[in-house]
Amino acid sequence: MLRASVIERLAIATASTALALLIGVTIVAAAGYDPAQFITSMIEGAIGGQSAIARTLRFSTLFILTGVAVAVAFRAGVFNIGVQGQFVVGGFATIMSIIWTAPLLPEGAVGGVGLLLVGFVSGACAGGAYGALPGALKAYANANVIITTIMLNFIATGVVGWLVQNPFRGEGNTAPNTERIPEYVSLPRIVFDSPGFSIIGLGIALAAVAVIFVVMERSRFGYDMVTSGHQESAATYSGVGAKRTVVLTMTLSGMVAGVAGAVFAIMIQGYYTDPSGIGTYGFDAIAVSLLAANNPLGIVPAGLLFGGLDSAGSHIGIYTDVPVQLIDGVIGLVILFVSVPELFRMAAQRTGLGGENR
């Protein structure tokens, strides 16, 4: 799948998404809803007006960050299905570290920036550590990363859910939430005056894309990572420790996921809540990364697409009676079709739409 050319990838991504949406619309029609209205409200929900665009970008920011986290690992041949867990642990660590450090720093802008730094660093470290764990288990005990990361997702959700319900619940909160972080710790809204979105958040996501792109494509470490992922024996022969690389890859991937968690916690929530209800950004990120062929730069358009889908989903959930779960199913279908490039190659050959350049 990684061998496909850029054009081919684009074609497959477009065809997968179109096919998945087509099936979605068919189901909408079969279930007795109006498909035309469904399509209109999807477009409206994604790009209809300033607040819709801000909402799309808010989701896109998270998808780009979590997507990059997934891509880092996938490129190195490690299936990190645990981004959701690393995202949760990172976000929780961000909020708690800010709450704990706040009394030590002055209030106001200076303290705010200081606390933001504390939050982001804690988030990245916690996410990195939570990613390093399955990496180490893989490297030194040969435990299947796919399974351990999935299990660690369940564990992260459960443990953080319990923590915010019990020991770390904010005083006097009836809901299972932590205390709020101070007002002055926030990412300023400069362009869009829409709650839960700051252009700085998007900037952080794009910066992460750039950094990861440079690390993967231009650095020694990135080269080692990708080689040991695809040609382990060659990498070992040239002196790259495969075990060490797995641990480092998972750590890096987890750190990006932790940053995503920090952005989510600071930009959107301002406190931490039961993670079973916060959305499956870490899982959808797998789709984002695959759609982008695990290329850090490709993550940006893929993230925008998924942001749009999710934004349309929440619009549909509010303004129409079509169940919003349909969007989750459609996202699953996109991933399914992306995993079968052969299907589209054969279809292209049958229809004579240039399937020759295999």
Binding site: I81, V338, S339
Partner: protein, 349 residues
Amino acid sequence: MSVADYAAGKRLRIAGIVAVVAALAVATVAMDLQIRKIVTTGFVERSLQAATPIALTAIGGLYAEKSGVFNIGVEGFMIFGAATAATMMWIISGGSPGQGDVWLAILASVLVSLVLAVAFAVLLIRYEADQIVAGLALWFIGLGFGPFMAVLVWDSRNSPSLESINDLTVPVLSEIPVVGPILFDTSPLVMVTAVLAVAAWKFLNDTRYGYWIQAAGENPEALDTAGISVTRVRYAAVIFSGVMAGLGGAVLLAQAGSFTGTGETMVSGRGWIGIVAYLFGNYNPLGAALAALVFGGLDMLQIQLQTAGIDVPNRLVNLFPYAAVVVVLTVWGSTRTPAAVGEPYESEE
């Protein structure tokens, strides 16, 4: 793998078992647990019931992987199985299901799983889908469409209370102390699962087709040379795994009596635990069923601890199986997978 390595592997396993038993013993003494209050016949019965969906899924997944295809989508099949069984039960009975409808719903759910499994197998085998990614995709589709079906039918992600399966009581035999109530006064689905586990074990190890399945995963070229279609064997195994996982989901629903579509849905990771169960059981259907029983027991332990008056936070005890899986994989990590798993096979004719 040399003999010494093998012995070392075994030693690790033995050490693992000893460590677990020792830890349990220490915990028992230290916390003054009353084993008698915890390990009751009711507990064993409930553990068996909790184990059935996991065991069914595990046996199916094992067959697929033995044949050379890693069906990581079993969690998705379970969600579809449970959601279909619930909606079918509702539709067949017109809103007030009885015992007969439970059985019909299970049957209908198996048929729907069969259709799904065929489509999935075609994608995996004919179109050489990336097995990991396609399997994950199936999970996501299940997470979306399971609750979607529930919303369509009941306007809510959760179904109202439907009907759960009654225990089957065998007269006379059920009056044998201890063994009676566990074996002869329990859910018939437990019986069905036990029979299926033994049959699956017999079939895999004692029939020609069972050998073909193993050969398709270990040495497809040899099987091909012997004139057996590797593709056909793999189709059969993957379809079987999807149907078994769908049945697992339906059984889960039949025991719970209602569909829950919030969070990770009512299946809540049991498919994943099923995969671990057959790794743990070293690709032996009976071993997988026993491993499922261990996970089922862990699942039920929390209720038992509560009734015994031991206050442990619910949410944390629920995580026990997941943590156990990580530990098990760490200790048992080096399970040998069939040689040709994950590679599409193309015949050279």
